[in-house]
């Protein structure tokens, strides 16, 4: 997952895909470790829409 603000790659780690629980109302965000931007955590069914644009190394 790439941070929408600073453009850096947010590493996939077990637990990082879970909400941190800090937001009231059950927010679904992944905070970039470099800039702190709150990126939306995409549900699996929506990730499929993004597949054609995913870059492969």
């Amino acid at each position: 997952m790439t941070c929408s603000f600073c453009g850096r790659e947010i590493p996939d780690q077990p637990g990082r895909a879970e909400p941190c629980g800090s937001c009231l109302g059950g927010c679904r965000k992944v905070h970039c470790p470099w800039c702190g931007y709150a990126n939306p955590l995409l549900p699996d069914y929506l990730k499929r829409l993004q597949q054609p644009h995913k870059k492969k190394e």
């Binding site: 929408s4 603000f5 600073c6 800090s22 059950g26 927010c27 995409l42 549900p43 929506l46």
Partner: protein, 654 residues
Amino acid sequence: MSKPVSLSAGVPKIVLVGNPNVGKSVLFNALTGAYTTVSNYPGTSVEVAHGFCDLAGLRYEVLDTPGMYSLLPITEEERVARQILLHGEVHVVVHVIDARNLERMLPMTLQLAEAGLPLLVVVNIMDEAERCGMTIDLPLLQSRLGVPVVGAATARKRGLAEIRAALAAFDPSRRPVFAYASDLEHDILRVAAQLEGNYRLDRRALALLLLQRDEEIQGLVAATEGAHHAKLQQTVNQVIFERRVDLHLRISLERKRICQGLLAEVVTQRTGGRPSFAERLSSWSMNPWTGVPLLLLVLYFGLYKFVGEFGAGTVVGFLEGTLFLEHLNPWFIAVADRFITWSWLHELLVGEYGILTLAVRYAVALVLPIVGTFFIAFSILEDSGYFPRLAMLVDRLFKAIGLNGRAVIPMVLGFGCDTMATMVTRTLETVRERVIATILLALAIPCSAQLGVILALLSATPGALLVWTSFLLLIFLVIGLLAARLMPGERPMFYMEIPPLRLPQPGNVLVKTLTRMQWYFFEIFPLFIVASILLWAGKLTGGLNILVGWVQPVMLSLGLPVEAAAAFIFGFFRRDFGAAGLYDLQTSGLLSPVQLTVAAVTLTLFVPCVAQFMMMKKERGWMVSLLIFVFVTAIAFASGWGLNRLLLATGWLA
């Protein structure tokens, strides 16, 4: 500290490092073939791939490290990658960089070189760079860097033979040195000269990491230096204190300056050196003379036309006016009249504050289309890479109010939801900045639904939107300036690498918008129902009338009709619920242009909603959050009162 797993002791090691997505793994597979092992780095969940390759009759172990952006680690992946460099016997470190983005990649090359690591640079993805019209003078870059540089396009198997040859002929004795500005060099030397132990990394690099408060390096140095460490730490602390305002900024800018020098005449564009349209647009968006008009264009088309006129006007007009008020609500009421005999249940479901007639209508027909259009505009800007440029643009203005460009992140997120933005203030460097940003978020940043409703209501009254915008901007700046003057504390500098400007991908925009809308709807829907039930219970028990009675004098002093009290009480549950209440008041024809403007300004400035207040309490503690609550309430009503007097006295909007 844990040590890296090695498959074979005594075999020289080749370590691949670099940013994510630069082709490290492709190179690793090309070097090692099919026989590789992937294992977790000891004590972590980070995977490191190992394999072997034979070069000129010698066997080497190859390690593919996790992506890293800097030798100063932030994530666990970066920490693991650095551990491997710190503790392993490395024959050669291969830094894989993206040819399209040399300026962003070279600062890490610089750090690896100044760390004294045996370095070979692979400029990868050359094919894409050439397709973009770039020509890279690799021999010139090699002579300036002082380490071997090989061009490649590993995904197309280009340059693999050259990389193998460079690895086989690698001379680890070449250690280039790059000089920083003399004052910085002086400080680095002060620290480096006191390092007496044996380290794998060069003393200059260790000194820089110590000055940047790298905890792992601090631990390593403390363990190595023993009794001498206290004196060393004193020097480090002294330099950090002397340079407390700009140390990180100076180091970053110095590295950038060195990299620009290294890259001068190395990269040329085919189009006669003229920057591309994206590059020109990028620099326009950060220059105040062109950036402010561009920002105004973005606000006009993105917020006013798209969210205000289309979302809150056309879409809400259809969903709220046609679908709910003409069809669904009469049907709900007719069904309730027919089947529900208990008046309390009838009132709960389809009454004045009914779950179906108020909560569902507000959530589905009013708020959702507005936040939906807002999130589309937001995702387009986000995906284009505009926000970091906005941060650079407003950096100077934000410095005047005690913040810097970094505060653009919570401010921009605040237009989506102030609660989440309040949490993000924790990414700001100092307590002073966090408190100022929290005040400004609670006071002058409307959330998306509130903004959309207000844009839609005010745009129908000539001049009202201009008064509302000017007044809020004035309050934002005055309170920010006062807070910056009254609150003591340091003013950290701001620097960030700007990612490339890009054309937004429709798939990304759609997915991000849907994700945000889903999250928002799931959050607001239950809260709107709870608010509706509380209002129903208040009406039934008479508690609401008492509350309205308390608020009525305030409404009268603001020049508002007493019916406006309900919208303000709604607003305390949620900002968007209050804005929806204002929408109902206006569509009922209860507000004159002056009253509408005063109500919109006061409601925007009015106290943070319950969720935002709880987040403030969590982030800043009871004392500060209560003070902010009282301060914001006082400012909101004082401003509303003053604006009402001003508008009545001048006859504006009359």
